[in-house]
């Protein structure tokens, strides 16, 4: 007897053809291209021009002159993500990024509360596209995707906040599906560069901010992808993690915060769990359920 398909698989079957083609082609395409990327951080708008080379599971990103990250190079070798920072002369190895983004997009589109429509999207980087629009129950747009009609490559994406403001986007301006590739393009070899892990960086940033380096160790199933201090009156530090295709932030703060108020501000976008330990307040915020956040909170440790 055949087992019934899970809800998510059924939802994926109902998705438009362009989305199905995008899933099918992910990790199968080879191309070299250039895209413009914009997003906000701390209220500042950042704009980068990324030069991308992708060969199936492997990818290389460089940043053009004038970009906020000019000179940085990132390589994904299919197992991990290697980031070269020229200013610090450091090479950091972290978890893969592309797979996680596509998994999150899959989760959003297959959510039964999300309405997904498809229409003709015009041309992007000279390629015919299908425009896929995802809206939440009330009709507010969550994201717009322009998918290459022939290959399924996502050529343009826009994200919106609750009031319809475009918060982030990328758009390919050039694309070549028959590039010449040198195998060394998926390696980073830099003599004299210090190899660091995300936890090394966390300890360094925490020390600078005068905060204990609390983190979620790899045994918790969460993978650290980003660390940043928060500019505020009280010392505060933010870490972002990938966790089973979901994303969450861990905040370490000298001041206190009201969990209910944060929950109210986050709305349906994220769950929140707050607790105190060792003279600091810790907050977990993100996609995992309140129960998952509570379990994760019990696994937070000081980095060694």
């Amino acid at each position: 007897m055949r087992r019934p398909k899970p809800q998510n698989d059924l939802a994926l079957e109902r998705l438009p053809s362009a989305v199905k083609l995008m899933w099918k082609s992910f990790g199968q395409l080879t191309y070299r291209g250039q895209r413009v990327v914009e997003f906000s951080l701390n209220g500042e708008r950042h704009r980068n021009v990324e030069m991308i080379l992708v060969q199936n599971q492997r990818a290389r990103y460089e940043f053009d002159k004038g970009s906020s990250w000019e000179g940085h190079i990132i390589v994904e070798d299919g197992r991990s993500r290697i980031h070269f920072d020229p200013a610090k002369n450091e090479i950091e190895r972290g978890p893969k990024h592309r797979d996680e983004v596509i998994a999150r997009l899959r989760g959003m589109l297959s959510n039964p509360r999300t309405r997904v429509t498809q229409s003709a999207g015009g041309t992007v980087a000279g390629r015919e596209t299908q425009l896929v629009q995802a809206t939440e129950g009330q009709g507010n747009v969550l994201t717009k995707l322009w998918i290459d009609s022939a290959t399924g490559l996502l050529l343009k994406r826009e994200l919106f906040d609750r009031v319809g403001t475009r918060t982030a986007f990328f758009e390919f301006t050039r694309i070549n599906f028959r590039p010449t590739i040198d195998p060394s393009e998926f390696e980073i070899r830099r003599a004299g560069a210090k190899v660091v892990s995300p936890v090394d960086r966390l300890k360094k940033v925490a020390q600078k901010e005068g905060l204990p380096a609390y983190h979620l160790p790899p045994t918790s199933g969460a993978e650290l992808i980003n660390i940043r201090p928060i500019k505020h009156r009280v010392p505060a530090l933010a870490q972002m993690y990938q966790f089973k295709g979901k994303r969450l932030s861990l905040f370490v703060l000298k001041g206190d915060v009201n969990e209910k108020r944060i929950g109210g501000l986050a709305g349906r976008d994220a769950h929140v769990h707050r607790w105190t330990t060792g003279g600091v307040t810790l907050v977990l915020m993100g996609d995992p359920s309140p129960k998952e956040l509570e379990v994760l909170s019990s696994q937070v440790r000081l980095a060694r």
Partner: protein, 151 residues
């Protein structure tokens, strides 16, 4: 006239003498007896004219109702407000190990989480904002600017 004075006393909630209290009890008793008697009568809607006349009589008898005097309540209310202000002042001044909830920080955390999420969705670099770092490597200029864009 005596009735009017008695009514005034009741309205002002002034203390009654023993004699007046007995009179009030008697009146209340009479009311409950009358109520019981009336219950036994067949129901009949009173005419509007009769109700209007009754209202006029009541107004003539009682005069306009006076606004309730605050009297002794004023000093106790003032004392309550003063006590609350003092408690709030003491709370704000007291040293605590963890600062009081900071609504500015709360909204900043939510905004941070949301911005980081969006940045990671569209960019290879995510929210990894470059720090302002002065390079020491002599050949760093071969790789890019000696100072990265601050934020």
């Amino acid at each position: 006239m005596k009735d009017l004075h008695f009514y005034q006393q009741l309205n002002d909630e002034t203390r009654l003498s023993a004699e007046e209290e007995a009179r009030l009890d008697e009146a209340l008793e009479a009311t409950s007896t009358s109520r019981q008697l009336l219950k036994g009568l067949p129901e009949e809607a009173p005419s509007l004219a009769w109700r209007s006349q009754l209202n006029e009589k009541l107004l003539d008898l009682g005069g306009k109702p006076k606004p309730k005097r605050l009297g002794w309540r004023l000093p106790s209310m003032a004392a309550g407000v003063a006590a609350c202000s003092l408690a709030l002042f003491a709370y704000l001044q007291s040293p605590t190990s963890v600062a009081a909830p900071d609504s500015g920080l709360e909204s900043q955390l939510v905004a941070f989480h949301s911005e980081q999420n969006s940045a990671w969705e569209v960019s290879a670099i995510g929210g990894d904002v470059p720090e302002l770092t002065s390079t020491t490597s002599s050949d760093s200029d071969l790789w890019g600017p000696s100072e990265l864009t601050p934020y």
